[in-house]
């Protein structure tokens, strides 16, 4: 895809939203939905469109947990760190995943396959501990289940 079509698509997403500051978060969400993260370029574009300094947009983007400024991995893993999950051992699950993948929270593996984040609560406390991989829920986990899950994903990733 050439640079110009990419830019055109970005503008298209941004213009789909009303021209007003209170839609800033919605615009950021729409851009992140498409690209997986907020690039420097996209922040410049949004700044032009809303006539708002880049610093303000950066301020909003870094305030909320949802936004990423770096590209995510092919498999985005979110580990729930809510109370129920904590009581049922989510700290161990997080350690195990980090160890298996060799990355820390907020990081992306060198091959670009995995990124690991925590989330305050996924609201699926009754099947704690819970993680999501690309939005799909996996509940009632333990260290062993997580290990085999990660191994499966690694195989899938190598296959492509």
């Amino acid at each position: 895809m050439t640079q110009s079509t990419e830019e055109f698509m970005l503008d298209d997403i941004i213009r789909g939203c009303p021209h007003s500051r209170d839609y800033l978060i919605s615009i950021l969400q729409a851009v992140q939905d498409r690209y997986g993260y907020l690039s420097r370029e996209s922040i410049y574009r949004i700044s032009d469109y809303l006539d708002l300094p880049e610093s303000k947009i950066y301020g909003v983007a870094t305030f909320y947990n949802q936004f990423r400024l770096k590209p995510p991995g092919k498999f985005q893993i979110h580990v729930c760190r809510g109370t129920a999950c904590h009581v049922k051992g989510s700290a161990g699950i997080l350690d195990t995943i980090g160890r298996e993948l060799g990355i820390e929270v907020g990081g992306t593996s060198k091959d670009g396959l995995f990124s690991l984040d925590t989330v305050a609560c996924l609201g699926a406390c009754s099947i704690a501990p819970v993680i999501t991989i690309n939005g799909k829920f996996y509940g009632r986990l333990d260290n062993k289940k997580v290990q085999s899950l990660v191994k499966k994903l690694k195989r899938q990733g190598d296959g492509t």
């Binding site: 500051r21 209170d22 978060i25 109370t83 129920a84 699926a124 406390c125 009754s126």
Partner: protein, 610 residues
């Protein structure tokens, strides 16, 4: 067999996570194979999450039986039995519904099941029973009659009725809803707003998600009534982005109501019309605070501001605004449908109606329960929850999330009521009940909440931003081994901080800007109050009685069990495990950082903890 036979499958988030989609596929396959025209309807969550996936089968004769923990492989058998052979007993039966005249004498009613027996379904009346996308099913169960009554009573009448019912905000603070509405109603601004706070940020709470996913019309009806009562023509539902399914169902419900001309069209003779939109949150716990939530809707960083002015005078875009929680608004629908008197007949003197709790943690029956106010914690945990999982002993129940507290065994007879919970150092909060057993360390729980708060503090006021960080450091010190410290001097300094723990917590409580900061030290204060002995064991004896704080444990390898597989020495981050391949390994105490990795990776159970 005709198309009267129906299958309902609980497809809320927890249902889907446990394989409800596979169950649905299996049911579809059975219908296709049999060439039978039956209807498969996805529903929200009935609350009994422990038994998910749940499948209800409605036979032609109207008998509705609920099956729990359904495996995709047994779906065909259950359906063949219930819909073709007249044998309802295949599968794990939860119970049958009282569904008209016909019922089976040998299957217990679902209301008799211990999990449901003490529950009173007022807000969750439809959740898991109806198709959340079907307005006609909602109407069949009394939907929209509350709105009709409200329109007849007029705005003043509605506010009076809500006031009389004694309804208090279900989001945490417990402010009387009628009073809030009265303030907004008396303001004669041309533009007012009603906002639904669906940013359920409390870790361990998911009651709002269940309502949004299972009965979106009830919430929207409540919002229209609220808008009518206070004179707001615009409503916004601020829903967290972590609930994609809830957002999808809300948006589809709004579309349906627009087509039915209930949204965006004149509803009464004075031309009252109401518009509603959903705004996705972006993940910030502090946005549960109303002024922060308003800032977030305006596209800014979600930071609270000092009150007054209260949102009822100057809120969204500086217009009068009422912010109500999901459960509160769903209660409004119920009150307008059944009447204030019915509502206030449930509950205690100062806390009326019911409350939905998310029952989780080390308990047998996890799930969502709705109970009348005034029930005791003991009844919820033992009668409804079935007691502690794996027959361990009960230690405490955490209620109210990061702003709440831990209630110990000695106070388990406490009644659920806004005031009585405050009396034992907790709060009603949004309704998360996390049960803890003997293996849970209370210092670790307090540290967990503090780490949550330090991550989520917006940073605006110093007591919360800096104070909670210091509190966290102190707790971190308490659960860390000595070797982590740099020098004796630092150890001494840290010890001084421990002496200041309580004092610092009090300062944060008194001086923080918003409700979240003011309640942030609660987990520390309440665990200190009831579990001081655990703190002392950590500090003086350097021991964790629950064996949960890894930093205070010592690890040893049992040389009789160790096979010398080298897995532990390979995974040890500091090279503290040494030994030859095929021979027993051992741990060098000085190098060990107590991370517990060797314990996790050992496949033979050779690593012992003391």
């Amino acid at each position: 067999m005709t198309n009267k036979s129906r299958v309902y499958i609980g497809m809320g988030t927890c249902g889907l996570a446990t394989g409800a989609d596979l169950v649905k596929a299996a049911a579809e396959e059975w219908f296709l194979k049999k060439g039978v025209c039956g209807q498969i309807t996805p529903t929200g969550c009935v609350g009994f999450c422990q038994m998910e996936p749940i499948m209800d089968v409605v036979a032609e004769n109207g008998i509705r039986i609920s099956y729990g923990a359904v495996e995709p492989a047994e779906v065909a058998g259950i359906l063949q039995g219930a819909l073709a052979d007249g044998d309802y007993s295949r599968g794990k039966i939860i119970g049958q519904y009282k569904n008209g005249a016909s019922f089976l004498s040998d299957i217990p009613f679902i209301e008799e099941h211990p999990f449901f027996k003490k529950q009173v379904k007022f807000v969750l009346k439809n959740c898991g029973i109806i198709n959340p996308a079907s307005l006609s099913e909602y109407k069949e169960r009394g939907g929209l009659t509350g709105l009709e009554r409200a329109l007849k009573a007029g705005p003043k009448g509605v506010v009076e009725e809500i006031h009389e019912s004694g309804l208090r905000g279900r989001g945490g603070g417990g402010f009387p809803t009628g009073k809030k509405w009265r303030l907004a109603q008396s303001n004669d601004a041309a533009q007012k707003y009603i906002i639904c706070n669906a940013d359920e940020g409390d870790p361990g709470a998911f009651m709002d998600r269940a309502i949004l996913e299972g009965d979106p019309f009830a919430l929207i009806e409540g919002m229209i009534i609220a808008g009518f009562a206070i004179g707001a023509s615009q409503g916004i539902i601020y829903c967290r982005a972590e609930y994609p399914l809830a957002i999808e169902r809300l948006e589809s419900a709004i579309d349906t109501l627009k087509k039915e001309k209930l949204l965006g069209h004149s509803l009464d003779k004075n031309g009252f019309h109401f518009d509603l939109r959903v705004k996705k949150g972006a993940g910030a716990f502090v946005c549960g605070e109303e002024t922060a939530l308003i800032a977030s809707i305006e596209g800014r960083r979600g930071m609270p501001r000092p009150r007054p002015p209260y949102p009822s005078d100057s809120g969204l875009f500086e217009r009068p605004t009422v912010v109500n929680n999901v459960e509160t608004l769903a209660n409004v629908t119920g009150i307008m449908r059944e009447g204030a008197e019915f509502f206030s007949s449930m509950g205690t003197k100062n806390s009326k109606g019911t409350k939905v709790f998310a029952l989780t943690g080390k308990i047998r029956n996890t799930g969502l329960v709705e109970v009348p106010m005034g029930i005791t914690l003991k009844e919820i945990i033992y009668d409804i929850g079935g007691g502690i999982a794996q027959d361990k002993s009960f230690k405490a129940v955490q209620i109210g999330g990061p702003s709440g507290g831990c209630i110990p065994k000695s106070y388990i007879d406490t009644e659920i009521d806004y005031e009585s919970l405050k009396g034992v150092g907790a709060i009603m909060g949004s309704g998360g009940l996390v049960v803890m057993d003997e293996d849970t360390c209370m210092v670790d729980v307090a540290r967990f909440f503090l780490s949550f708060i330090t991550n989520e503090s917006c940073g605006k006021c110093i007591p919360c931003r800096e104070g909670t960080q210091r509190l966290f450091e102190i707790l971190d010190y308490i659960v860390s081994p000595y070797s982590k410290m740099k020098s004796e001097e630092e150890n001494l300094r840290r010890f001084n901080m421990v002496m200041e723990l309580e004092n610092l917590a009090e300062v944060i409580k008194r001086t923080s800007l918003c409700g979240l900061g003011q309640t942030a030290p609660n987990p520390v204060l309440s665990t200190l109050r009831f579990f001081r002995n655990e703190y002392e064991a950590h500090i003086y004896e350097r021991k964790c009685p629950a064996k949960a704080c890894r930093g205070l444990l010592t690890y040893e390898i049992d040389t009789d069990i160790c096979t010398g597989c080298t897995l532990c020495s390979k995974s040890c981050p500091t090279g503290a495990v040494v030994g030859e391949k095929g021979k027993a390994h051992y741990i060098i105490e000085d190098k060990c950082v107590h991370c517990g990795t060797c314990l996790d990776v050992c496949r033979f159970g050779a690593v012992k903890v003391s």
